[in-house]
């Protein structure tokens, strides 16, 4: 039997979250979409209109290239983070409770660092004058110190450093719930430790891995400080350009159009991966 809610008070329970969602998400997002069709006024700010100019400008090879780079970078960061964090978290969940707590507290404290701190921290660590290459020189591994930043490697390092704690914390519940007897069963059936990890642990947690990849990907897509602090202009992402247009060029309509486009691209990528996952599960 289906109970039909009739009175207004029946809806009161969902009123608060619905209201919060409206005020802090639907309305700002609506404003952004509306603004993406506004007309920019040269020398002034913008005026309400309904033009496709902003989207049209966006459809150039220059912006397509940047969009491609942004998506590629975010995907690479997601893959590297999960590749590092998955085995790490697996080993962590097999350790003593005390050790796990210490590690999780440490990761949470890394998480509390702001993007600015991480960016400047790494740019110092990767610099010629004070960076880790000096350590390598004193150990006799390198001849003379060199600068590792700005570079693509530096951007990757900074972003993976930032996403790694998130990735571990998202994977942790699923991995700690994993039945240890699955791995033991694989071992009694003749699998060595590495093989049982790849054959049993990874496939058994495929759904968690996919959702973690998506989460880290979306997170990395919005990253705009680290590419500026650790990368060359060619490593700047769409988020950097959006910030640049909105704040420095005062072109809010164009920034809004790019932001809407970025949201659409990431949403469709998420939808594709979810759809793919569903099909796999059904088969």
């Amino acid at each position: 039997m289906k109970i039909k809610p009739g009175k207004f008070s029946d809806y009161a329970a969902i009123g608060f979250p619905a209201g919060m969602l409206t005020v802090f998400f639907v309305i700002p997002f609506g404003i952004m979409i509306a603004m993406s069709f506004f007309q920019r006024v040269q020398g002034a700010f913008y005026e309400p209109a309904f033009v496709f100019e902003n989207y049209a400008r966006f459809l150039s090879t220059f912006f397509a290239g940047i969009l491609g780079f942004s998506v590629g970078l975010a995907a690479l960061v997601a893959v590297v983070s999960v590749l590092l964090a998955f085995p790490f978290t697996y080993i962590l969940t097999r350790m003593a409770r005390q050790t796990q707590v210490v590690w999780l507290v440490f990761l949470l404290s890394v998480l509390s660092l702001s993007e600015v701190l991480i960016g400047f921290g790494w740019s110092t660590l990767l610099s010629r004058t004070a960076g880790i290459t000096n350590l390598l020189v004193s150990l006799g591994i390198m001849d003379k110190p060199m600068s590792l930043s700005p570079s693509f490697g530096a951007v990757m390092t900074g972003m993976v450093y930032q996403t790694f704690p998130y990735t571990v914390l998202v994977l942790y519940p699923a991995l700690s719930r994993l039945d240890p007897s699955l791995v033991e069963a694989a071992r009694t059936l003749g699998s060595g430790p590495a093989r049982s990890f790849l054959n049993v642990v990874v496939p058994a947690l495929r759904n968690s891995i996919v959702s973690t990849l998506i989460m880290v990907f979306v997170f990395a897509l919005g990253c705009y400080l680290l590419p500026q602090l650790l990368g060359k202009p060619s490593h700047w992402t769409l988020s950097v350009l959006i910030t640049d247009q909105a704040i420095y060029q005062s072109n809010m309509p164009f920034a809004a159009a790019m932001a809407v486009f970025l949201v659409l691209v990431s949403l469709s990528l998420v939808a594709i991966s979810l759809l793919y996952g569903k099909k796999e599960n059904a088969g």
Binding site: D179, L182, R187, T188, G190, S191, V200, P203, R206
Partner: protein, 349 residues
């Protein structure tokens, strides 16, 4: 020495000793049950056989070869886990073929093996089913088939039937026993259910608190328990303490009992199974081995009747069949006869 041998095995987890020094021989081709209450070390013992735990000291030998340091995945023992541990991302057939596939078995070989094993556990034509869509009993059979895929030297099962309902469990016990007899494979089952052990085992190993109490065939465990723990854990029993008064005689509260294999003197504890006690209406003449008691309660279960008796201040339970039922009611005095061969002298626990 043939079979599986535990040579002075000790297992400690930190300060806690899970298994005290144990030496034990499990003969080739037998069905053995490790029986005891939870936390008695029986699962730890099984996991040491599989190599999932390393003994703190001591050796494990299989057919004379020391296997103590051989890693689990090179031992080739089949094991069924308590929660079965079927791989959720693989189908029934892929689960069973897993050990063959990782050894590089060809598709055709795997297919043939899966078919043979599914026939063996009476689940034909199930190979393509996802594991999630099986019933409890079917999962059980798949886990057994997977563990047997390699034709292992040892077949280990950790509380394999505990997740099944009572009726299915009983039929699986019989089926498992028949399967073992057909294959002639040395099988070791961990269980806390004494009925399960009695149903399946050739040899029962009774354990508690990390110590082995008795190793014997089920009937002997029941009839000749070695100590009070075994007597009480396997079935129900009456424990009566007394003192050896003369050769073959024990003075107990309310009279004298007779028993074989008595020590020359000192305090002893007797175990007498309820179904071996004979009841007759009190007639005033008590011979040796017979005490007088009062019936405090009668519980008629149809197939058997339990009499709760007060014999010289001690609670004694007796069980009779309907045809042997004495003509007494609660409150009557009865003669309680303890036949000589039913009084088993227990050692120290």
């Amino acid at each position: 020495m043939s079979g599986l041998v535990f040579d002075s095995i000790v297992k400690k987890f930190g300060d806690f000793t899970a298994v005290h020094e144990t030496s034990l021989t499990i003969p080739q081709g037998k069905f053995v049950c490790l029986l005891g209450p939870s936390g008695c070390g029986k699962t730890t013992l099984l996991r040491m056989i599989a190599g999932l735990e390393d003994p703190t000291t001591g050796r494990i030998l299989l057919e004379g070869n020391d296997v103590t340091r051989i890693p689990t995945h090179q031992r080739d023992f089949g094991m069924v886990f308590q929660n079965l541990a079927l791989f959720p991302h693989l189908s029934v057939g892929e689960n069973i073929a897993y050990p063959l596939r990782i050894r590089g078995g060809s598709k055709a070989d795997c297919f043939k093996a899966v078919k043979r094993l599914l026939d063996l556990v009476q689940l034909p034509d199930m190979a393509d089913r996802p594991v999630a869509r099986l019933s409890g009993g079917q999962k059980q059979r798949v886990a057994i088939a997977r563990a047997l895929a390699l034709e292992p030297k040892l077949f280990l099962l950790d509380e394999p039937l505990s997740a099944l309902d009572a009726k299915l469990r009983e039929s699986m016990q019989i089926e498992l026993k028949q399967l073992q007899q057909k294959l002639g494979i040395t099988t070791i089952v961990v269980t806390h259910d004494q009925r399960e052990a009695m149903t399946m085992a050739d040899l029962v190993v009774v354990m508690s608190q990390g110590k082995v109490h008795q190793v014997a065939p089920p009937v002997e465990i029941y009839r000749k328990p070695k100590d009070a723990f075994v007597a009480d854990f396997i079935g129900s029993t009456n424990l009566i303490s007394g003192r050896v008064s003369a050769a073959g005689k024990i003075a107990v509260a309310g009279g004298t009992l007779l028993a074989d294999d008595l020590p020359k003197s000192g305090d002893v504890t007797l175990s007498v199974r309820p179904e071996n006690i004979r009841l007759t209406k009190e007639n005033g003449e008590n011979s040796l081995g017979t005490l007088t008691g009062d019936v405090s309660y009668i519980r008629d279960l149809g197939a058997s009747i339990e009499f709760y008796l007060n014999v010289a201040g001690q609670q004694i339970t007796a069980i009779t069949t309907p045809s042997d039922r004495p003509d007494v009611v609660a409150g009557d005095s009865v003669s309680v006869a303890f036949p000589k061969d039913a009084c088993v002298v227990l050692g120290d626990a």
